[in-house]
Symmetry: C2
Subunit: 525 residues, 2 copies
């Protein structure tokens, strides 16, 4: 293909969302002639399914739930007035709360003003807020965000140590829909102890975002936390970044929440169009289908050329993989669907693995994200007529060309800047693309049945630990993992017992003599 | 397989490196009976190739270079006394320099002591130092690390803004082997401007790590920078974390550099063993070969259950993908080898994409990393006999079991803690595994011929930009991208011209009227 042919292909397929100054270019995907026509009927079906979902149908059949994240930025579309009012009222309460916190009307126990926000959450309760915080933070924000997003006590201790005396000026936001997420509960207990050790009343520094009536909701209510905000069962965790989960931290950091929502709303308008050529989400969904043959055979490598978009791929890992990675289709057939996502940022990742992308195994397609605005700083010319940011554009175009020359496919998304409207637009673009693609391949994008098995198994590990500790206390003689598994009534779980015992011994909770799975003997100190 | 059978399989294959208290478990990989025997001859060949490499042969034939990163922690193995002395002398100079900086003997222009280190580098000159910094940093370190790892002016401005007045207590380390890496040169110029604007002499705050005689070396020498440390042509960028590239930032942050090296040295001893069962690197290489059929058909998902190991997978992306992702094998046959790497940390990633791993497309194997020690903080019991860190172990074992039940493969590496020795050991483990695997599949692990094409193409984009700006200045009439491409003498590059013009317009360097690839007209302001 000559560069002139390419230019024609580029122009004819370029999708521009004028209201957002956002563009999607699929000219470097090798979809064959006739592909768009062939996909017209499945795509029409996907549009219909999406329209039905937006009207409030039970779009998540496994959990018997509506799927309403599109209403968050267009409350008038919610199928019941009570839902519309709940959305509007929550937005207003968030704005009021953030204003009062910034003004010092809502203030910490021992200081004038909250200057930090510690968000405790995991999965959808952390990835969206982390992405937005990293994308939009500036030095002049009224509050700075920190996160507990795991159940690693060392990680929590490090965050608390970094806060240091600023803990007394830190507002903690605990986020869990069910209120029963173990990692988040543990983080909350760790934070509470830190406040107490600093002589502070945790309740006077705490806010909950949770489902109505959950354990967390009751705790927050009974202990008199500063405020509670809702998580609704019709908003999935991975789509909650534009609900209170994402909006409250964003508002506290001083970001323009209305612009975030507005960007998403505009993108929703664009992605409701039934003409594929002018619908950027439909184009993405079709390109994913083409690239991975509708079976996820290619990885999605996400390369934004902007430091502020570093966490976008981590956010997308959940949105894409948890939505699409399903054992069965909607008819119950075993399909093992999905699409793997990775990537950090360009040009940095060029120096890490473009070697493989260009020369190695061709098991991916790239999504480049080009940011037109170089940021508000004073530009630096490093050569005549060349500024530092020109190199970002140069490397993006250069890598895109080098991959194309080597027969590697890529999509390029162009956004005007990394500000609230563009972030809202990117979020909404991928939410819709995932929803449309899920219909194309026939899976439920809104459940996650596969995550329970690991949690249940983890629970049984903790039960086994308790049984082992009881058995150890009952008899002070040194015993092997096999003997202790037997004594704990779990003779078939020697391997897990050995790992648990090694972990306990490494933390000074047992004495160990000997070593190795057969040689080690354990007793309580 | 019953749990008893599994326990037997676990015990019989468990590889323990006693000196490091490190274990590799491959029992959850479904390699068939006879696999180890079948691979014995190719593995023996890989051991031989590695021994030849360690003796100083030209192991990187494309670049006619020795591959000497194993000598960095065992200088007595270097094939020439001059190399041994260079390694030992550089280590001593690093230790002396860090001691003098900490003592304030080497001090900034306008303050008593350096308290921050700004590392400017990309690829191998950033990923290792970033991984080590994030893994080992504590609040009590004498210096805190910051990074420029890209050519994004907005990202650089953010780092400088965060430093604020602390810039006067910041030592900048510029790392580039060739001294000509554009991103790093740009970062250096940006940092220099920031110092100058603060009324500071950059040279009095700057150190170079670079090849002898490079542009950067000459600049640093001519401008009287504080110090210069070497990068040798026999240490590849992606293996330079235990050369000055990684050791100087580590020493400045107060990490135990000797323990880092010692951990790597011990691992080298263990991974030189010719008995596969007791060689953890050989086991990893064989499992990768089994999983991906020697063709990289499975992605490597790296899940350390520890916040401090979050950046390990980013580090491994370069080490694994740049080493293995090759078009041709050593005989010149087109093979398109490689292995994709992604992952962040557990249990966090469980809430992002374990849904897909368990139920979805089976295109991966997991490497769990279990850290036995929960950290030095005061433990918190959240239920009787259950501490916060027990949940990490529980989730790891639970997810491992749930994946195994769903026929998904995994390796588990256990390390005693996240301290210097263990970090050095992990680095050396993967360096050796990548080297052995490369021989198994017949590729050169030490070159990166595919990265030049993108850089060259980027250079031509910047040339095109200059030509467009010249053409714009020559005629004030508004013109289209097509017209300007012609006027710039590049009529075949309309598409790149349009993207460049849009980028220039978005940053106020051109005036644009109209919109779209055909409609937009540009002129200089």
């Amino acid at each position: 293909m000559t560069t002139t042919d390419l230019w024609d292909r580029y122009r004819s397929h370029l999708c521009i969302v004028e209201a957002l100054d956002l563009r999607v270019d699929v000219s470097r995907m090798h979809f064959p002639a006739g592909f768009m026509d062939r996909m017209a009927t499945p795509m029409a079906h996907a549009f219909d399914a999406m329209a039905t979902l937006e009207k409030g149908a039970i779009a998540n059949p496994d959990e018997d739930r509506m799927v309403g994240h599109y209403w968050l930025r267009a409350p008038e579309l919610a199928p019941r007035p009570a839902l519309s009012s709940a959305i509007i009222e929550t937005r207003e309460r968030i704005a009021d709360f953030a204003r009062d916190v910034h003004a010092g009307t809502i203030r910490p126990q021992r200081a004038d003003r909250f200057e930090h926000v510690l968000v405790i959450g995991i999965g959808g309760s952390a990835l969206g807020p982390q992405f937005v915080a990293d994308a939009l933070a500036t030095r002049d924000d009224p509050m700075r965000a920190h996160f507990f997003d795991n159940t690693d006590p060392d990680g929590m201790a490090r965050v608390i140590a970094r806060l240091g005396e600023a803990l007394e000026r830190t507002l903690t936001v605990v986020i869990s829909k069910s209120g029963g997420t173990a990692e988040t509960r543990n983080g909350m207990l760790f934070a509470r102890r830190a406040y107490e050790r600093a002589g502070l009343d945790f309740a006077r520094h705490a806010v909950a975002i949770t489902g109505d009536g959950s354990d967390l909701d009751r705790t927050a209510s009974a202990s008199g936390w500063l405020e509670r905000f809702p998580m609704w069962d019709w908003v999935g965790g991975r789509a909650s970044v534009l609900a209170a989960v994402g909006l409250l931290p964003a508002a506290l950091q001083g970001f323009d929440v209305d612009a975030l929502l507005d960007g998403a709303r505009e993108m929703d308008v664009a992605t409701r169009r039934h003409e594929v050529a002018s619908n950027p989400a439909a184009l993405l969904a079709l390109m994913w289908h083409h690239a991975g043959d509708g079976r996820g055979t290619k990885d999605m490598v996400v390369l934004p050329y902007a430091d502020r978009l570093l966490l976008f791929s981590r956010y997308l890992q959940q949105l894409v993989m948890e939505s699409l990675g399903k054992e069965r289709d909607l008819d119950g057939n075993v399909v093992h669907q999905g699409m793997s996502v990775y990537g950090n940022k360009g040009s940095t990742d060029q120096h890490a693995y473009v070697q493989q992308l260009r020369d190695g195994v061709n098991n991916f397609f790239v999504t480049f994200i080009h940011v037109l605005h170089d940021g508000d700083g004073d530009p630096l010319e490093v050569e005549p007529d060349v500024r530092i940011g020109d190199y970002l554009t140069g490397f993006l175009l250069g890598t895109r060309a080098a991959l194309f020359d080597a027969d590697r496919e890529s999509i390029t998304i162009t956004v005007p800047d990394v500000r609230e409207r563009s972030i809202g637009a990117l979020i909404a673009l991928y939410e819709r693309a995932v929803g449309l693609y899920a219909t194309l391949v026939g899976v439920n994008a809104y459940d996650q049945p596969g995550v329970e098995a690991g949690k249940r198994a983890a629970g049984s590990v903790l039960e086994l630990q308790k049984a082992l500790l009881d058995a150890l206390r009952a008899d002070p003689a040194p015993r092997s993992a096999a003997e202790l598994a037997r004594a704990a009534g779990r003779p078939d779980h020697i391997e897990q017992s050995w790992t648990i015992l090694e972990h306990l011994a490494a933390n000074g909770r047992l004495e160990r003599s000997g070593s190795g799975p057969d040689g080690a003997r354990y007793r309580v100190s």
